[in-house]
Symmetry: C2
DNA sequence: CTGTTAGCGCGTTCAG
DNA sequence: CTGAACGCGCTAACAG
């Protein structure tokens, strides 16, 4: 038998389709007897309303797209969880899109919203296609990224302050030569974190020696190369603050392969608190981003934007947190550390 | 101005809506001049067809759901990529669902298919709700899991053979006492891998000492506990084969904290080749599952199932591969390894 | 090659 | 409180 429609139910119950529809959506507007009858027939027939017809009629798909920079990054998994939870609580579905680091693909996903596949787009990617008219922009919310163009609803963290907190902590442990492995240079997020590093050093009366700053690309290998470069150049340091956990893990590996111990000889701090941070040996001290909450907030903003209309603006800043694990330690024996470093340096 | 519909375009171009529709979907069935005219108007108006109306009319959403056991597991990310690529090539969208290790949630997602939110479900979760009638099961494809119930289209790997290959490799390196950290016991996947371990040992004329088998739950912590348990019990071993990379990483950490070196004192092999495998120090020798391909194959099966109808059956087995990294080494100095182990054992 | 017509299944008027 | 009727935007017949 073909799947029953609302009409099948109506005929069988001897009522109109409108009554069936009301019974399902606004039960209190229907006389109890009628309602019970309808519900009985619905159950008998196993009727389940066609979501497509409903969406079509309502001109809303109750679906949002979470578009991320690179879906291979586990960081986004937790954000997705937050989005999904907030979404399903509000009756929304979530599609995840992968920008594959290609700005053009963002346009693709914007089109999906225009085509009404989805009602809105949560952007976790660096940029919007440059050529689009802001007036006709579909509902967009930005999370964790800096999108210059317009005043879009945004949820963000204070990257500079978080980075400064990490460096402060190292300073508190007695470190004076703290290297920073940064993210790619043109990106505002990387710059903000590097600024935090610089600020915290300055606040402690320490010099932000340019030799201590190495640029990476957030990859494990970048962390390795960065440390290799520091050692090659003979730059003295007793701590490393990396702009993400993967680079921190790479740094740990490289340090170790040069015979340096973490944290005894060199302390290492990461950023993000992804699944890597706890898996690495030693577990990484890092800055935790409340990924779940970030996702949930972004979804909440999206719902608000959808209800409010194009004018909606908002910026919510969520707090980060320093998570202390065992990749960091006080500079207990300054001389020993220096000696180890000297030995590892060519 | 309201967004233009196909009718707006038709009026403006002085043709019928059918012609506009055809121009967009079957251009060669339209006279070139007409086509060009229509396309011009489409461009002028910025008309973009409403995907919802289309889906509604066609009774197909061109969307599939990838339902995974636990979305927090990065393993699924790569599978998702494969699914998404195959899907978007065929004009499908992919929703990712999280079963959160709760069988009831599978039913939820099945309902989404019944409600026509999606056309089908790719299952990467251990079971189906027990109470459902197989005849009315919506399009489902199973990937990597063993779902007993019915003959559903499936893509799988040969878990036993893959596990045996890992153990063979260790045997080839001269190991004789090879421990196995298994997955949870009632699951067929865990059992298959443990069987592979047993088979390979037997084939090499070695005893599968029950003391060498420790059950875990695929978590980092389980890997740690397993090794701790082996050492506590004073069970001698020179190699560990874990049923996944996370437990292998945990094993490495625990071994090291007991002063044992990997791979000098103990070799460790993982399974899956997730993002962990390369990040751990030392990088793990492991069994690579072709995750991307698994996803792509599953999607291909789904498309076939959708086209063929309920009768469709298929089973595709994709090959795994041993990836040798540096967590494994020959039993070079058997005596030294034994000594180290004895020292670490209470 | 093109136009006309008839719905897809539901929600929402507007009467009653 | 309930029913009849319309239409969301598009595609698939069927004529012409």
């Amino acid at each position: 038998m073909a799947t029953p429609t609302i009409r099948t139910v109506a005929e069988r119950a001897g009522v109109s389709v409108a009554t069936v529809s009301r019974t399902l959506k606004e039960p209190d507007k229907v006389r109890p007897e009628t309602r019970d009858l309808v519900l009985k027939v619905v159950a008998e027939l196993g009727f389940v309303p066609n979501a497509q017809a409903r969406a079509f009629r309502r001109q809303a798909s109750d679906t949002v797209i979470l578009l991320v920079r690179d879906i291979g990054n586990p960081f986004y998994l937790d954000v997705y969880k937050g989005v999904e939870e907030a979404a399903s609580a509000a009756g929304f579905k979530v599609l995840m899109g992968d920008a594959r680091r290609d700005p053009a693909r963002v346009g693709l996903y914007l089109d999906m919203v225009r085509e009404r596949h989805a009602d809105g787009l949560i952007l976790m990617t660096g940029s919007l296609p440059p050529d689009l008219a802001m007036e006709t922009l579909p509902p967009v919310v930005v999370a964790l990224e800096y999108i210059d163009g317009g005043r879009l609803p945004t949820v963000r963290i204070d990257n500079a302050a978080a980075a400064a907190a990490a460096v402060d902590y190292l300073v508190g442990l007695g470190h004076r030569r703290i290297a920073h492995i940064s993210g790619p240079t043109p990106e505002l997020m990387s710059i903000a974190r590097a600024d935090g590093w610089r600020t915290a050093l300055a606040a402690a009366g320490l010099e932000a020696d340019p030799a201590l700053l190495v640029w990476g690309d957030y990859s494990l290998q970048a962390g390795r190369s960065a440390v290799a470069s520091l050692l090659d150049r003979g730059v003295p340091f007793t701590a490393v603050f990396a702009a993400n956990d993967e680079m921190a893990a790479g740094a740990v590996n490289e340090l170790r392969s040069h015979g340096l111990r973490v944290p005894e000889d060199v302390s290492v701090v990461g950023f993000d608190d992804t699944v890597f941070a706890a898996a690495v040996d030693p577990p990484l001290t890092t800055i935790r981003q409340p990924k779940r909450e970030i996702g949930a907030r972004a979804m909440a903003l999206m719902i608000e934007r959808l209800e409010t209309g194009p004018g909606f603006q908002a910026e919510v800043v969520v707090p980060t947190q320093l998570v202390v694990r065992t990749s960091t330690a006080p500079v207990a024996d300054r001389a020993a550390a220096t000696r180890a470093l000297a030995a590892a340096t060519p």
